[in-house]
Symmetry: none
Subunit: 245 residues, 2 copies
């Protein structure tokens, strides 16, 4: 396969770097040198360099040369933009992070925040039939909690976690399955419990309520993955770890 030639060259260059023991900060051979060494045009080497640059392995300086930023990983560690993450891994991360965020929010939440959350849950309850609407309310509720911390980074983190859901094509499949069920009612009850704890300014209670909520979601997901076609089973178990609290 002559296709994706720049990838082959890029991997060869990585190997070359490893073998020759180039130090971080050191200078790589020039594009022309590699071009001759591998018997390809400089264009291809340049493309390979771009690949290494995107992977944050090298830095390219016009008129000077290219320099090693960090040693290329042998196996697998490059993951600048979190990609193929399974729903379980995502849910576990949300469980760990959002329960902490809920505990934080409980200590600084305002009456206004509480009111907004209440309205959102009312909406979620009223629109249980509409997947679109109740799902939007679901997301909104979680983000309102993060917003209540008044820390933009926590809100940002939470937003990223939720955005990641839409990016995964797998989530669409799960979505379709959950759609047929009535777990949404259970989850709404979870949400109400979280809100109740927030109302009482009970940090530990909010943490545990949020933890339990996402535990329930995980269990649901697990049940779905077992009872139906096992097309995406390998997908689920990227890692489990971490029990409650």
């Amino acid at each position: 396969m002559a296709e994706r030639l720049y990838r082959d060259i890029g991997e060869h260059i990585k190997e070359e770097i490893r073998v020759q023991g180039l130090k971080v900060g050191g200078k790589l051979p020039t594009e022309r040198v590699y071009a001759e060494q591998f018997g390809v045009s400089r264009t291809v080497v340049r493309e390979a360099f771009i690949m290494l640059e995107i992977e944050e392995l090298i830095e390219v300086r016009k008129g000077s040369g290219s320099y090693l930023i960090k040693l290329p990983a042998d196996g697998r560690l490059v993951r600048s933009h979190a990609e193929d993450i399974g729903p379980f891994e995502l849910l576990q991360a949300r469980q760990v992070l959002e329960s902490a965020i809920a505990a934080c929010a409980a200590q600084v939440v305002t009456k206004h925040d509480i009111q907004l959350m209440q309205e959102t849950l009312d909406l979620e309850g009223a629109e249980l039939e509409s997947i679109e609407k109740s799902d939007a309310a679901d997301r909104e509720f979680h983000l309102l909690i993060a917003r209540a911390t008044q820390n933009s980074l926590l809100l940002e983190t939470c937003t990223q976690l939720w955005d990641m859901r839409e990016r995964s094509p797998m989530w669409k499949t799960l979505h379709a399955r959950i759609q047929d069920r009535s777990y949404r009612g259970d989850w709404l009850a979870d949400h109400r419990e979280v809100l109740a704890q927030l109302r009482r300014r009970n940090a530990e209670g909010a943490r545990q309520a949020m933890w339990q909520h996402l535990e329930n979601v995980k269990v649901t997901l697990f049940a779905l993955s077992n009872t139906e076609d096992p097309d995406f089973d390998g997908f689920l178990f990227t890692s489990l770890g971490a029990g409650p609290l």
Copy 2:
């Protein structure tokens, strides 16, 4: 801004994809079309396509065209906010999130993880004089904890928080101030306490040790901001909120 032209074009193409609502699986305009549209050569567009390909946003098929694999995330979110975020807000977010991550890690940490952390702390202790070295060890220790959860999203989140530090010009100022002091020794003791709790697989202990560590860092930061020139005072209080636990 003639340098790194392919990056500009690549970002423009991402924006184009978002704006025009191209569906996943859909076909992108050809390299030639983009070349004309942006007024650059096809070579540059090709490089931009390679960038998107490395980021796993598109798939390039010879003789056919390029196809969207998933919607590009709006990268402006993190980066645009990164500038406006004060050290206190960042530290608070780290306190909330990293303490939860530490609790999670305590439940699944392996002997090997513990060993790596121990070595990192030994290094941190040995290099207390070198700002560079001990700071790198500091970062490494925190990331090792996140890595121990075996959840790539938690690691990713933690990494983003630390990367944000470098992005803030303010942190350099703080860095220079802390450099003169010997808080590093105190923080190393904090780290050792966290590691001790992880060794005992004590989730609650790890959570509180990490919380206390970052509380100490916040206090240090606060002290520095009061005793010295008040140039960056307005900078600090973006939000405080959230007490311990």
